[in-house]
């Protein structure tokens, strides 16, 4: 199976590798920055709690928060967002791939997985 000379496995492997490495790097920088502050207690305050009811709105809000300056919280939140986006992009790529490949069975299976995840990420 190849689309534009690349097979699905290569595309997926690339998405997973880049997604995990970038999110880990952002998280490590965020933690390093946090470690320069006064308190390192994990105190379970609402500041660190993820909230809202739409992951995509949260992700967008996290990106916009960088406009007000870079904080340990904004970096750590971005790292988690990027990590969660990684498998999501992997299904999206599979759905597109099987559609281009004209494999309706697996295009539908990928779209089902994508739809369930999208609903669960958007509708809480």
């Amino acid at each position: 199976m190849k689309v534009r000379g690349r097979d699905l496995e290569t595309i997926i492997s690339y998405i997973l590798t880049v997604g995990v490495l970038v999110s880990l790097a952002v998280e490590a920088v965020g933690l390093g920055y946090y470690a320069t502050g006064e308190s390192l207690q994990v105190d379970f305050t609402s500041r660190w709690q993820t909230s809202g009811n739409d992951f995509f709105a949260y992700a967008w809000g996290t990106l916009l928060s960088f406009g007000e300056g870079v904080t340990p919280l904004s970096l750590i939140a971005l790292g988690i967002v990027l990590l969660m986006v990684t498998p999501y992009l992997r299904v999206l790529a599979s759905a597109l791939y099987f559609t281009v490949e004209r494999n309706p069975k697996y295009a539908l299976i990928s779209l089902f997985v994508l739809a369930v995840l999208t609903i669960s990420l958007k509708a809480h």
Binding site: S13, T17, L40, V42, T50, V116, S120
Partner: protein
């Protein structure tokens, strides 16, 4: 209460130990943090996010080498993600006491994998049922240890789907990968070759974890200052453990496995009884 550096250090050690004894993800990190006083539901929610990193990271190279069966994974993910969403929703509402006992009980499924250590034969003469043929559930991969290409066929996807739904519920409820259980479904029901089974399981765990995390994200149980060091630490520990794995004798690993399982089991039962 714990601080970020302690979580990081504990997660590195737990990730290292987990990868040595074949208990990936959060199966050790979560109980280790609970032992330090972290509320079990917070540890489970952070564990769910953590295993997106550990499983996706370890699966990526196996995908590229075409050992993972992507089609089988996509089919089985339909069941695990629905199970994981249901499981995470259950955890959000049930009393914590119940989770300790369920964690202890599910830990016993880890023994499913120990008899399989070192066994590597490919199921022969698998007769596919109609649904398996329709789903094109077959594949081939290059086995480096055998020095040849291995062709295989899978069967009974309907029953396999049901098994993966159960695996998804457990994974979502406990914030773990439920890898040993998934691998058993792959091999005993679908007749997947061991190498394909373990790598495809890692691949599926990343997606299952996202489904569970999609519930925990808005449940009020996910704290970023716990999840971030847990994710970085466990992934780093698992990476270091993977490098050390070949230098340790398998009899030592088996003993270590039993000690770790026993410790976690006793801890979770004790927490459950005293909660």
């Amino acid at each position: 209460m714990v601080d970020v550096l302690t979580v990081l250090l504990i997660s590195i050690l737990a990730g290292l130990l987990g990868s040595l004894v074949g208990l990936g993800g959060s199966l050790i990190t979560t109980p280790a943090l609970v032992a330090l006083g972290v509320p079990v539901k917070f540890a489970i929610a952070a564990g769910m996010v953590t295993i997106i990193a550990t499983s996706s990271g370890s699966a990526s190279s196996y995908v590229k080498e075409k050992i993972v069966n992507v089609k089988a994974a996509m089919y089985l993910e339909m069941f695990t993600i629905v199970g994981a969403i249901a499981g995470a929703s259950i955890t959000s509402v049930v009393p914590a006491k119940f989770l300790y006992f369920f964690f202890a009980a599910f830990l016993l499924t880890s023994f499913l994998g120990i008899g399989r250590l070192g066994r590597d034969e490919v199921p022969q003469a698998v007769v596919q049922d109609g649904l398996a043929r329709w789903l094109e559930l077959e594949g081939s991969y290059h086995d480096k240890s055998l020095g040849k290409d291995v062709n295989y066929k899978l069967t009974r996807p309907a029953l396999g789907g049901a098994g993966m739904f159960v695996a998804g519920i457990a994974a979502g409820m406990l914030g773990i990968g439920a890898g040993a259980f998934k691998v058993s479904v792959h091999e005993l029901i679908l007749k997947m070759p061991p190498k394909v089974s373990t790598t495809t399981s890692s691949f599926i765990i990343g997606m299952t974890a996202l489904a569970g995390a999609s519930v925990y994200f808005f449940s009020g149980l996910l704290y970023l200052d716990l999840a971030a060091p847990m994710m970085v630490g466990t992934t780093l520990g698992a990476f270091l453990g993977g490098r050390a794995l070949n230098r340790i004798r398998s009899s030592t690993l088996r003993r270590l496995f039993l000690v770790v399982i026993l410790l976690v089991l006793v801890e979770m039962l004790y927490k459950g009884i005293t909660a």
